[in-house]
């Protein structure tokens, strides 16, 4: 049975599109892209990029039928988890920007060029960025400017500058503006001192000013001028230097040094880790979602048993620290992402179908929800039944830590507010989660009042 599904995000490029058959991803290469695709292979660019592990590898598919008339069907390597720029930390977006520029430089050295510079063309395998759009490479025509220059500034330079110089949480603007942050808006939001950065002055403030220029006059002159290869290389060098100089040092937030401030003793911490490992081995997952991962300590347990882990946390500083740590180890199995569980990434774009919601990108085989239930139930006033429902949509197995009201963390949370959470009890927790899961194991964590559960989703849910 040929169960072909068109990828709902792949419709803008007339040169081809993505589809899947029984979970396997395919890319159709149309005849309009034949020359460029052949040049990508024959120029040696494809082999060079595959050798350096920066382009997704593919095989030419045999016996697969596409749509209409086409040149080839290729079968790219599957990405473990599709993430979006508004879910990345500062360093992830910066690495994605650097990779895009380096790809353009490498392409130009072999007579090719990137026809777009969309941040959505980059994905992460663990901490390693990789370019996924094989059909973005086209033949470089001497004299033509880099057509993706404006898109690069909107998708990378503007959000990076805002994160570095205004507030790191402004990466969430990419969720509102699917084709990148408008440069005029970024120029207004950046502090005045940003104008002393020559790269930003030219590529961002200059572009913002130019965009307000006379379009009629520009129309009449646009076709008359050309850019030399030297000028293009100079632009790329300048952009690379500007991006490299943008830095952000995350502050020590409550969450980024969470483990140093918990009330766990060494023995309770060791017991919790041992239980997580034992539960994880029993679930034997291929994919794990660590919700509220913080610095990723427990994500590493999932990785240790061979799973691909997506480590979510709402705190940009915690995710930044996590990414830096995993990137320094060249980790290819844990992907840290910024995600506020009380307001997770929705479906976005044309027809609500271009970018999938968090839930649509699941379910995972196993969900880790350690020391997070009280933040959702008490800090966000979410009823336990609704939390259980959400977790049941995230994955089949659930390793969850219940934190009772006697815990010092909750006492601190309730110190300055009225305790309206009469239903927040262990019994009510077990009842609410029992509607969606059956209990496999339950064990109290040594030297603490917390309990760790291994739950499995009911077949009818």
């Amino acid at each position: 049975m040929n169960d072909m599904q068109q990828n709902t995000a792949s419709f803008r490029d007339p040169d081809g599109h993505i589809f899947s058959i029984n979970g396997q991803i395919f890319r159709q290469v149309n005849f309009s892209a034949q020359e460029d695709y052949d040049l990508l292979i024959s120029s040696g660019l494809y082999a060079e990029l595959i050798d350096s592990k920066v382009l997704v590898e593919h095989e030419e598919a045999v016996g697969v039928t596409g749509v209409g008339e086409y040149y080839k069907i290729i079968m790219p390597e599957k990405i473990p988890f599709i993430s979006y720029p508004y879910e990345w930390s500062f360093s992830q977006l910066k690495q994605a920007a650097i990779l895009t520029l380096k790809l353009q430089i490498a392409a130009m050295a072999r007579g090719m060029s990137l026809k777009d510079a969309s941040a959505y063309n980059i994905q992460f395998i663990g901490s390693q960025p990789i370019f996924i759009d094989t059909l973005s490479f086209e033949k470089y025509n001497e004299g033509k400017p880099w057509i993706a220059y404006g898109q690069f500034v909107r998708h990378f330079l503007a959000p990076l500058a805002l994160m570095a110089k205004t507030d790191a949480r402004l990466s969430s603007l990419l969720r509102c503006f699917i084709d990148g942050v408008p440069v005029d808006m970024a120029a207004k939001m950046l502090p005045g001192s940003s104008r002393f950065n020559m790269g930003l002055l030219l590529h961002l403030f200059g572009m913002a000013r130019a965009m307000g220029g006379d379009a009629e006059a520009a129309n009449s002159r646009a076709g008359e001028v050309k850019v030399s290869k030297f000028g293009l290389m100079a632009t790329l060098d300048s952009l690379l230097s500007t991006v490299n100089k943008l830095t952000w040092e995350p502050p020590k937030t409550t969450w980024s040094d969470y483990y140093d401030n918990t009330n766990y003793t060494d023995s309770s911490s060791a017991h919790k880790a041992a239980l997580v490992l034992a539960y994880m081995r029993e679930a034997a997952p291929h994919t794990v979602w660590d919700l509220g991962a913080n610095t990723g300590r427990y994500s590493e347990i999932g990785e240790g048993i061979g799973a691909q882990v997506t480590a979510f946390d709402f705190d940009v500083a915690a995710v930044e620290f996590m990414y830096r740590d995993f990137a320094s180890k060249e980790n290819r199995n844990i992907l840290p992402l910024v995600m506020d569980l009380s307001n997770p990434s929705p479906a976005l774009g044309w027809h609500h179908n271009e970018r999938a919601s968090m839930i649509q990108r699941g379910p995972a085989d196993c969900v880790l929800a350690l020391a997070i239930i009280h933040h959702l139930a008490i800090a966000n006033n979410l009823p336990l039944g609704m939390i259980a429902d959400f977790f049941s949509q995230c994955g089949k197995w659930l390793i969850i830590e219940f934190v009772p009201k006697e815990d010092s963390q909750i006492k601190r949370m309730l110190a300055a507010r009225e305790d309206i959470f009469v239903n927040y009890t262990r019994e009510e927790f077990e009842r609410a989660f029992g509607e969606y899961f059956y209990m496999v194991h339950r064990e109290d964590i040594t030297d603490s009042c917390r309990t760790l559960y291994l739950l499995c989703k009911r077949d009818d849910k």
Binding site: G143, P145, W146, I147, Y149, G150, L202, H203, G206, M207, A210, M211, G213, A215, A218, N219, R221, A222, G223, E224, V225, K226, V227, S228, F230, G231, L232, M233, A234, T235, D237, S238
Partner: protein, 72 residues
């Protein structure tokens, strides 16, 4: 001092001429829909080219002196 100023002025003039010639005229060229961005990318490339040329030549000068000091 005067020699230095003159030398600097000549360098800037040469680089400006280089940048000027990087923008060539072409007949029957494709007119891009986003013409403002097209023209801006041309201007940005010209400005970057000046800095890039200085960077490239400065590196060559440094390499020359490194080689010279290596011979000694």
């Amino acid at each position: 001092m005067k020699k230095k100023i003159l030398s600097l002025a000549i360098s800037v003039l040469i680089l400006s001429i280089c940048a000027f010639f990087m923008i060539q005229r072409a007949a029957n060229a494709y007119i891009d829909g986003n013409s403002v961005m097209y023209l801006f990318s041309v201007v940005a490339a010209s400005i970057c080219a000046v800095g890039y040329a200085i960077k490239v030549y400065w590196q060559k000068i440094l390499e020359f002196f490194k080689r010279m000091s290596g011979r000694k």
